[in-house]
Symmetry: C2
Subunit: 536 residues, 2 copies
């Protein structure tokens, strides 16, 4: 069968000029007649549509956490199941816009100097990836503020970002935006404390340069209130981190940067409207979910490689990595059966990746399907770049490499989906975000899992808590025996941490490199030596 004919393209692609968006499944493994006859369309999709409708109406779609799932309401507040929620969404959006305007006009100004020229977003995971995607995809020469990020608990990384801020107007002109839904995320708490210390060192008050985005009454909310931060914006338990980019989490930094957040919201709302269609063949999100299911056997048997041919969409692959893997990567289905679900996602951008891993995609392990994202417009605003050959521009090459690579993969039987958008604008980013949120929701219904919790993340946090307690135990024991040469096993015995030799050894390795707690006085190879006996 010719898997990439014109006839097949016309059968298996869906063009939606009103968005605009085209979803092309003609180079997947789906049979020609899939959109009319795939059994999933009759059996599983009707239920997926019903579950999605119930979710949008306020059902407890996240049963494990007993929560509603309301990210679709964020761009269409009249959908919200109560007047209170509707008002909260609308007021927050208005507050975000008013705050950004006041910052841009200088009405809200830094403690000592001039205007706010930068913002430093302090958040991790869902509180950073969406904002980073939006900031990078939609930056322009007209940006009102420059964006910086603390998205980890790496002190060296934070020091580096503070250095960049120093070269860009300094902390005195920087607004810190601390984002934690729960208000208790340790990485974010640490980032906040490191930032506060840096402001203090410059003789500046952190509170006069800070706003919080968090749930009402959280630890972060309490600190922001007590210290009198510039503003507090709400988060709600019915918005998950990975779908929070169209709440204050993503809207506030976008508005500060000067990005048209109405465009983001309208794009998402327009895509939502079309992805409610019960006829799967007219529903681009349903088509994606169908293709994912068929390419992965409904059990993650193939990886999803995401290749946007546009520098601005580099972070979209990483954004999808979180959205898809955290939503679908689940041990148990809704009935409690062990299923170990998920789809692995990776990718950067084309044609750059053609010079990196496309060699393997074409010739190597056939363990993946590609999603190409094509952007029709060459430059923002439709500007034309120079001709690099008579009648040929760099953007023609970009399309040539996209079509060429796709063709080379098709010829080797490597399946691919193609999404085509016109340009990279707030509207089209809103469309892509909404498209994938809905596709993930449908897919979760098809395989019967809860897409809206993340129990596996908790296990790592709990284990980390135990390590941190052990670090303190070890440090205390080291202080007590300052200057003594002892190996990990002796320290375990002395500190009373039976069975924890390996962890204690790892902790000692780290301590020996931080030059804290008097360990700098020990020989440099003390810790390594502790494993092989004392140094000679």
């Amino acid at each position: 069968m010719n898997r990439y004919s014109w006839a097949r393209y016309q059968k298996l692609s869906l063009a939606l000029p009103s968005l605009p968006l085209t979803v092309d499944l003609s180079r997947t493994s789906l049979p020609d007649e899939a959109l009319e006859s795939d059994p999933l369309l009759l059996d599983a999709f009707p239920r997926a549509f019903e579950e999605m409708e119930a979710l949008e109406k306020g059902a407890i779609a996240n049963p494990d956490e007993n929560r509603q799932v309301g990210h679709y309401w964020l761009r269409n507040p009249p959908l919200a199941p109560s007047a209170g929620l509707r008002t909260a969404i609308e007021e927050t959006r208005d507050k975000v816009m008013a705050f950004a305007e006041a910052v841009h006009s200088g009405k809200i100004a830094p403690e000592k100097e001039g205007r706010f020229e930068n913002f430093l977003l302090i958040g991790i995971g869902g509180s950073a990836l969406g904002p980073q995607l939006v900031a990078d995809a939609l930056t322009s020469a007209e940006d009102r503020m420059r964006a910086f990020f603390f998205d980890n608990t790496d002190p060296d990384g934070m020091e580096r970002e503070l250095g960049r801020i120093e070269r860009s107007g300094g902390l005195g002109r920087t607004l810190s935006v601390v984002i934690s839904k729960s208000g208790g995320t340790k990485e974010t708490r640490n980032g906040m404390l490191e930032a506060a210390a840096a402001y203090r060192e410059k003789g500046l008050s952190f509170a006069r340069h800070a706003v919080a985005v968090t749930q009402d009454g959280s630890q972060l909310d309490r600190i922001a209130r007590e210290e009198g931060w510039l503003e507090r914006f709400p988060m709600w338990d019915w918005v998950g981190g990975r779908t929070s980019v169209l709440s204050a989490v993503g809207l506030l930094p976008a508005a500060l940067q000067g990005i048209d957040i109405t465009g983001l919201l309208e794009g998402a709302a327009a895509c939502d409207a079309l992805t409610r269609a019960r006829a799967a063949e007219k529903n681009p999100a349903a088509l994606l979910a169908l293709a994912w299911f068929r390419e992965t056997g409904g059990r993650g048997a193939r990886d999803m490689v995401v290749l946007p041919y546009k520098d601005r969409l580099l972070l979209f692959s990483r954004y999808l990595q979180q959205l898809i893997m955290e939503s679908l990567g689940k041990e148990r289905d809704l009935r409690g059966e062990a299923v170990n679900q998920g789809i692995s996602v990776y990718g950067n951008k084309g044609s750059t990746d053609q010079h990196a891993f496309v060699q393997q995609l074409r010739d190597g392990v056939p363990n993946f399907f590609v999603t190409f994202i094509e952007v029709l417009e060459d430059c923002a605003g439709g500007r034309l770049s120079i001709e690099v050959e008579p009648g040929v521009r760099s953007g023609d090459y970009l399309q040539g490499f996209f079509l060429g690579t796709r063709q080379a993969l098709s010829e080797k039987g490597r399946p691919s989906i193609t999404l085509t958008i016109r340009d990279v604008t707030p509207r089209s980013i809103g469309i892509l975000i909404a498209l994938y949120e809905r596709a993930v929701g449908f897919y979760a219904s098809l395989v019967g899992i809860n897409a809206y919790h993340q129990p596996g993340v908790e296990a790592g946090k709990k284990a980390a808590g135990e390590i941190l307690a052990l670090q303190l135990t070890v440090a205390k024991d080291l202080d007590k025996h300052r200057g003594q040469f002892r190996n990990a096993e002796e320290i375990v015995a002395s500190a009373g941490a039976p069975g924890q030799e390996e962890m204690v050894f790892k902790i000692l390795e780290h301590l020996s490199a931080t030059s804290a707690r008097g360990l700098s006085k020990l020989p440099a190879d003390h810790v390594f030596a502790s494993r092989y006996g004392y140094p000679e």
Copy 2:
């Protein structure tokens, strides 16, 4: 079996204090006695060591392209199989250092103003990823120049990077470094032309702001010579793009940035020395190759997830993606049998990714093994960050999350390798680069493939060339019938491109969005309409 006991750690990890580097395989699927009794150690590794020795001595280790493979000589020139090669390597390294010094001192200065404060690296794939890794991992407040990159043929991406340069001293203070081994890479050629046009627009001569890194006599070399660029640095056919970071490709930008390139080279040389050990249990690269083989069944059955717990190593995962996937992702083995080899690689950094896809790693599809990279030192130079709780710093949390996540994965039977390095310095980056180059070489021997060619990339380029020709054919036909409404099928017939309806349609979609060639005068949905018939 307890897969993560202290006894097992001592058996299955190798500490090399002289680098320093520790490779810990105790949380992989290897049995306790693997390092003594794995059959590969007896059967396959002796041959891998022999092949590596022959390669280092100058054998044609890349038979398909009839080339030697000499990246190990770059950091140990006396190894080179001829005096001429040795001299070429040494002279190039000296020339790089002298050039960087002359730029820093102002002896080599821009055409009109002050000093060179920025460099713009124009390259793609192996000519960009290594330099980007080094620039990002080793940046510091002491940088002598700021780094910018054109690494694609996206005109919008280039415009954006030019905007960043404008805000950082401008093109007048920017040295362009054009890197293409073959000298004919189209993305790089386009980047060069776009950059040259941008200089011209500022009234500046590109030649007076440009250097080339390319093979002697290449198209790029010829242009640089004829136009009188500031300098030309050689590349050689015995260095592959993905292993070129310690040639002028990586050394020149690093030296310009002010990075200690001697440290990079010495780190790699020190790691090379240890990874020549014929006793696999003492050879960290052999241990990696062994673990990869056992985790993937020697056929890529599991993905490699790379998680460095350090912001500075974010790009290392992407660097490895290229090095490993382009080297190992091969259709045929050396005997010509179809094997579809490879290992898929992805990852960003911890603990950030813990809030993204670690949910799936722990609970979802068990289709991967992790490589954790632990950095013992918290901050560059051993500085201490603030305490975020009594006796606890952000870096303690970073270690806590690393150990906690690893533990949570181990408890679910998810295998992991851990690499531990002391710090992120030129030396340790050199060590990591050399470690993985050698591991890839060994693994290629184990599975019997050529790690040093990339035939699959050519197919995409060839297909792209055909698309570019078709673009011109279509454009010519459109010009001839300017103002007419025709659909893709009619244009195919008129332009004489039988069977190319889908490609022509895709080309039309792109053209309609570029507002070039008079198409802007057509209705905005002309191209979409061309599929569904004429607009009403």
